[in-house]
């Protein structure tokens, strides 16, 4: 049976947020089951995030979580937690209030907990052991957490988290996300003053993005690399930078 949210979801996927919101507003909420109600609140939150104030979106995401926790424990809370974290981070970026950053981190931790259970459960069937689901959610939430710790100025933690996500991307050959991880590792190392390592990871990012022909992504990385290098030329031109760059061709991406 087709979901009653089919049209709205398609519109959201196509980034037509206003139309999705109009579509959702046509739905008679009273007749929805609890699980549908939770999903409705979540989808409305996504639509509002782009078309109204972030606070309204936050309120919808929280409604979703409340309904799900009270009435449908099987509801997957990863995306509501993750979107709440993103929402609070957007507010933080506008107002620089540390409390918003803390809230973003807290929701990110909750999202991480769900993501770990969703993504990395290994199943056994007879003698066969296999990873059932994609680790995409887990990697995305780790990258976001790495960025949040950059904002908290906890650079060492940020690097540790991003190194975990690097390993997971490599393990699952997720080159689409690996470039992004290398970008953030480059940024964290630059912020920590380890400029040659920063440059090394920016070059690795370009290599990873080349594999999947992500031209736009490559441009972004090169811009970042240039901006940091203009401030700190040793990132590109020191002896150590040359040494690290020469290692890249011998390493797996």
């Amino acid at each position: 049976m087709e979901s009653i949210f089919y049209t709205a979801k398609n519109l959201l996927d196509s980034r037509m947020y206003s139309k999705a919101r109009e579509e959702l507003e046509k739905i008679n909420v009273v007749r929805l089951s609890f699980a549908e109600r939770a999903e409705y609140e979540f989808l409305m939150g996504v639509a509002l995030f782009e078309t109204a104030t972030i606070c309204e979106a936050i309120s919808r995401f929280k409604n979703c979580i409340r309904i799900a926790k009270e009435h449908c424990p099987e509801f997957n809370l990863f995306t509501p937690y993750y979107e709440l974290s993103i929402s609070y981070f957007s507010i933080y970026n506008e107002g620089q209030n540390p409390k918003d950053l803390e809230k973003s981190v807290d929701y990110c931790k909750l999202a991480l907990d769900v993501a770990v259970n969703n993504s990395l459960v290994q199943r056994t069937s007879g003698l066969m052991v296999y990873v059932e689901e994609s680790p995409e959610a887990f990697i995305n939430v780790l990258i976001h957490l790495g960025v949040l710790y950059q904002s908290k100025n906890k650079i060492e933690e940020s690097i540790q988290i991003l190194l975990v996500s690097k390993t997971i991307c490599q393990h699952f050959s997720r080159f689409d996300l690996l470039g992004q991880v290398y970008d953030e590792l480059g940024t964290s190392y630059a912020l920590s003053g380890q400029l040659e390592l920063a440059g090394y990871y920016f070059v690795k990012s370009v290599k990873a993005k080349e594999i999947i022909n992500n031209t736009r992504g490559i441009e972004i990385t090169i811009q970042k690399h240039i901006i940091f290098s203009l401030r700190n030329p040793q990132m590109m031109f020191s002896e150590e930078a040359s040494r690290l760059h020469s290692l890249i061709s011998e390493e797996r991406i």
């Binding site: 991480l112 390993t167 090394y200």
Partner: protein, 341 residues
């Protein structure tokens, strides 16, 4: 938690400061890793002993072997009773750590230039591969352990995540890649965790295939084709997993891994025939011919260069040289310089 012996760490530091002999660098790293993985294994066994688990004879032999390597002066083999006595004393006097599965996330392994966590299997194997080593480390639950580590960093209570602690440190065969993904074809196992089913000769996790020749030899002592069957069986699992996404690992790493494998094989000089025989599975890829009739698979298979073109490239760039019909790779030889991140 660090498990490296001071003497081995000193040797790593010394070798790091004098990077002019790749053979020595390779041997020092292999020894240092063996010591660390053996210590972890002994620590895990100690925890099992404390819990009262009765150990199989094969496990007791393994503990005996580890003790004789790690503590050659203290330990003289005198049979099972003495192993227990020796291990009990070791536990009591804290001669080595005692590790439960939840401690694995905190274990740091010393490689060249830095410590990495045990779950960072990729960085450990990268150093071994770049130095031309025949050893590799496989850890089934690396990702679960990594996730527990992340939870620790962010001060998040870990809700008893189940951990797949099957690991092997051992000597691998000629090829480390198939069209399906990475291959750990263990010809011999130096350190094997106590959590394996001893009757399973191979398995696949995602796009990774693992073959255990020790088990194959035990199960089928007079059947040489067992290896090929196990290889094909596990690789087919990895193909069914990875081909639907375009086999990202193999398409991205095929040439690099085969180049490394060729150079590793050509540490000693070999004739063309010996090379062709050794890389038979890559050259006459039986899987390639099997899938050649399936359109979607054909598209993925097109992305893999032939062994001969990769070999020719190594010859023309001078990495492999020919002398009197024998081929040798220069990069992994004694006295060659090396460098690592």
């Amino acid at each position: 938690m660090k498990v490296i012996n001071k003497a081995f760490e000193q040797e790593l530091i010394l070798t790091e400061s004098n990077r002019n002999d790749v053979k020595r660098a390779r041997e020092v790293l292999e020894k240092a890793l063996s010591q660390q993985f053996q210590t972890i294994l002994l620590a895990l066994y100690s925890s099992e002993i404390i819990k009262g688990r009765s150990l199989r004879n094969s496990e007791l032999q393994e503990i005996e072997g580890i003790c004789s390597v790690l503590f050659p002066e203290d330990y003289i083999s005198k049979g099972n009773e003495n192993i227990f006595e020796f291990v009990s004393n070791g536990i009591y006097t804290k001669k080595w750590p005692i590790l439960g599965l939840n401690d694995l996330k905190d274990i740091e392994i010393r490689i060249y230039n830095r410590y990495v966590f045990l779950w960072n299997v990729i960085d450990i194997n990268e150093q071994l591969a770049i130095l031309g080593s025949n050893y590799r480390f496989f850890l089934a639950g690396a990702m679960q352990i990594a996730s527990s580590y992340v939870k620790k960093i962010i001060n998040f209570e870990d809700q008893s995540t189940s951990i797949d602690a099957r690991f092997i440190f051992g000597e691998i065969g000629v090829s480390t890649i198939s069209v399906g993904g990475p291959v750990f074809d263990f010809e011999d196992e130096l350190v094997t965790s106590p959590f394996f089913n001893e009757n399973v000769p191979g398995f696949a996790i995602g796009d990774t295939a693992v073959i255990r020749r020790n088990v194959l030899r035990k199960l089928y002592p007079s059947n040489d084709s067992g290896m090929l069957s196990a290889y094909l069986h596990e690789v087919l699992h990895t193909i069914s997993y990875s081909f639907k996404n375009g086999a990202p690992f193999s398409t991205a790493n095929w040439n690099l891994y085969i180049k490394r494998d060729i150079c590793r094989f050509l540490k000693n000089p070999h004739s063309k025939k010996e090379i062709t025989d050794a890389f038979w599975l890559i050259i006459n890829n039986p899987i390639k011919s099997y899938f050649s009739t399936i359109d979607t698979a054909k598209e993925v298979l097109k992305k893999f260069d032939d062994f001969s073109s990769i070999f020719e490239a190594l010859l023309s760039e001078g990495t492999v040289a020919e002398n009197n019909g024998l081929y040798i790779c220069a990069t992994n030889q004694e006295g060659q310089p090396w460098d690592l991140l």
